[in-house]
């Protein structure tokens, strides 16, 4: 019981509604203004998970979705049933936080280069099954013009370069772990969301990702595999970007403020400046 109450200090209770608001405002903006196949509605969730712990993170995620769905004045849309996914994302963020993933880890040049290369390889490995989906590779099946395949290859290459570059420029090994955490979170989120999307909505949600779902169905996937295919494309990208955003936000906060949060010491490290 102590572990639970320790995560919910007054500071955490104050942070959670602010995090929920960040989730909803950013997610709404991205969905309605940008219409990209990413969501960016988990920044607050992951932030709370990392700062306060898995339960606080899970609660932030779940409440964000429910409030966005049911709140008088703001409510609407279809985000409610995905509260489960949001809860899982927050839970994982708390786990990463407790493992010290987001802690700054300066390292020697050789280690950094090794990490950068590994990160690029991991991104390639994750992108490979997506690239090989016939919906994307064969224009006859997928109905996708052939530039989409090139676009995905380009996105994978750019992502690899950006992550590797981040690791090398910031001289911080944490970039590697944050990217890894983001990719894993994204994959888990895709697997949790696919049955929800397929069962509740028949596979579409009215946001920018539906184009992907349509193409995958055209390629012969059934409902749940099409949802999964779309998720495995959007979620790892989205969660990795979000994880990096959270990492940058944490880097911008003063150590004193971070240290006061329940998970603070694991983020700041044992050294004294």
């Amino acid at each position: 019981m102590g572990w639970i109450s320790r995560q919910f200090t007054t500071r955490t209770i104050v942070l959670i509604p602010i995090a929920i608001a960040i989730n909803v405002v950013l997610g709404y903006t991205v969905q309605t203004v940008l219409k990209l196949p990413i969501y960016l509605d988990s920044i607050g969730t992951i932030l709370v998970g990392v700062l306060a712990g898995p339960l606080a993170g899970a609660l932030t995620g779940i409440l964000s979705n429910l409030i966005w769905q049911y709140a008088p004045g703001i409510g609407g849309g279809t985000i409610g049933p995905f509260a489960i996914t949001a809860g899982v994302i927050g839970l994982l963020a708390g786990v990463w936080g407790q493992l010290g993933i987001y802690r700054s880890r300066p390292a020697s040049r050789t280690v950094l280069i090794l990490a950068a290369v590994t990160a690029a390889v991991v991104i390639g490995v994750v992108a490979y099954p997506i690239l090989n989906n016939p919906a994307y590779t064969d224009p006859n099946i997928g109905g996708y013009p052939s530039w989409v395949f090139t676009a995905i290859v380009l996105i994978a290459i750019v992502a690899g370069i950006v992550v590797a570059g981040f690791i090398l420029v910031s001289k911080d090994l944490a970039g590697f772990w944050v990217a890894l955490a983001g990719v894993i979170t994204g994959i888990v989120a895709a697997f949790v969301s696919a049955p929800i999307s397929a069962y509740v909505f028949g596979g579409v949600t009215g946001s920018g990702v539906d184009v992907l779902v349509a193409a995958l169905r055209q390629g012969g996937s059934d409902v749940i595999h099409a949802s999964l295919g779309q998720g495995l494309f959007s979620d790892p990208i989205d969660k990795t970007i979000t994880s990096f955003v959270v990492f940058i936000i944490l880097a911008g906060l003063s150590r004193r403020i971070i240290a006061r949060f329940p998970n603070g010491e694991r983020l700041v490290g044992p050294s004294v400046d």
Partner: protein, 255 residues
């Protein structure tokens, strides 16, 4: 002094309205087919008429349209494994199975969205939170939900202000997708850091008001509640759980 709500539906206890909204939504989604979503929609429709919600309802209805278009298009033309074609337009084949699925999904979504809307339009947040706290949710829960609902419009307004001031400094936010993406970072940054800077102050303010003290707070204005509503909530809740259980285990097959 706040006016007491008029009308049968508005006068119900907020928790009753919440239970109705959640049950309608759950039943519409889990009990697939035509009958239950249609009944749910009729119940919602009757409530809208009775509570005089008409015009305020329109934006909620309009909000479901993009989703419905997606659902209809994707399911009618691209339903996997369906062979009962009814219409051919170029390379796309519309199937009867797809049409049925699209129709049922649309009905479900609309019933769900509108039951949420009816609840949102007739229930002031403060009343709901006060009632839930009286039932034992605790002031921390009340604070989190209430503060979140208040902060969202405030943050959105702040985002607008940040956008305006960045635009005054020459930031371009209209135009191509790439430019819009580049426009997000200078907006999100100040917005998030501004929001987070409040955390310390608010924490101090709450602690100064004995936020984490264990004593229960006294309720000044209890919401009306009676035995009929209480019984009704329990019955509705149990019926919902029961119907869902029967459907999931395959014992109940409604049209």
């Amino acid at each position: 002094m706040r006016r007491t709500p008029v009308g049968f539906y508005r006068g119900l206890n907020p928790t009753t309205k919440l239970v109705i909204a959640l049950s309608t939504a759950a039943l519409a989604f889990v009990l697939r087919g035509w009958l239950v979503p249609l009944v749910a929609l009729l119940v919602v429709g009757a409530t809208v008429v009775r509570a005089g919600l008409g015009r305020a309802f329109v934006p909620f209805v309009l909000a479901t349209i993009p989703l419905l278009i997606s659902i209809v298009l994707v399911n009618v033309f691209l339903y996997p494994g369906a062979t009962d074609t009814i219409l051919v337009i170029g390379p796309l084949r519309a199937t009867a199975t797809g049409l049925t699925v699209a129709g049922q999904a649309s009905l479900r979504i609309v019933a769900f969205a509108l039951s949420v809307a009816v609840f949102a339009l007739t229930t002031p947040t403060d009343d709901l939170l006060a009632d839930l706290e009286r039932r034992g949710m605790g002031r921390r829960g009340t604070f989190v939900i209430g503060a979140a609902i208040q902060t969202i419009p405030r943050l959105a307004a702040r985002a607008g202000e940040v956008a305006d001031s960045q635009r005054a400094r020459g930031l371009r936010t209209e135009g191509s997708v790439w430019r819009r993406i580049r426009g997000v970072v200078p907006l999100a940054g100040p917005m998030i850091s501004g929001a987070l800077s409040e955390v310390e102050e608010r924490t101090m303010a709450l602690e100064a008001r004995a936020f984490s003290a264990p004593a229960r707070r006294a309720v000044l204005r209890p919401m009306p509640d009676d035995n009929v509503q209480r019984a009704g909530r329990w019955l509705l809740g149990l019926a919902t759980v029961g119907l869902i259980a029967l459907t999931v285990t395959g014992h109940l097959g409604l049209p």
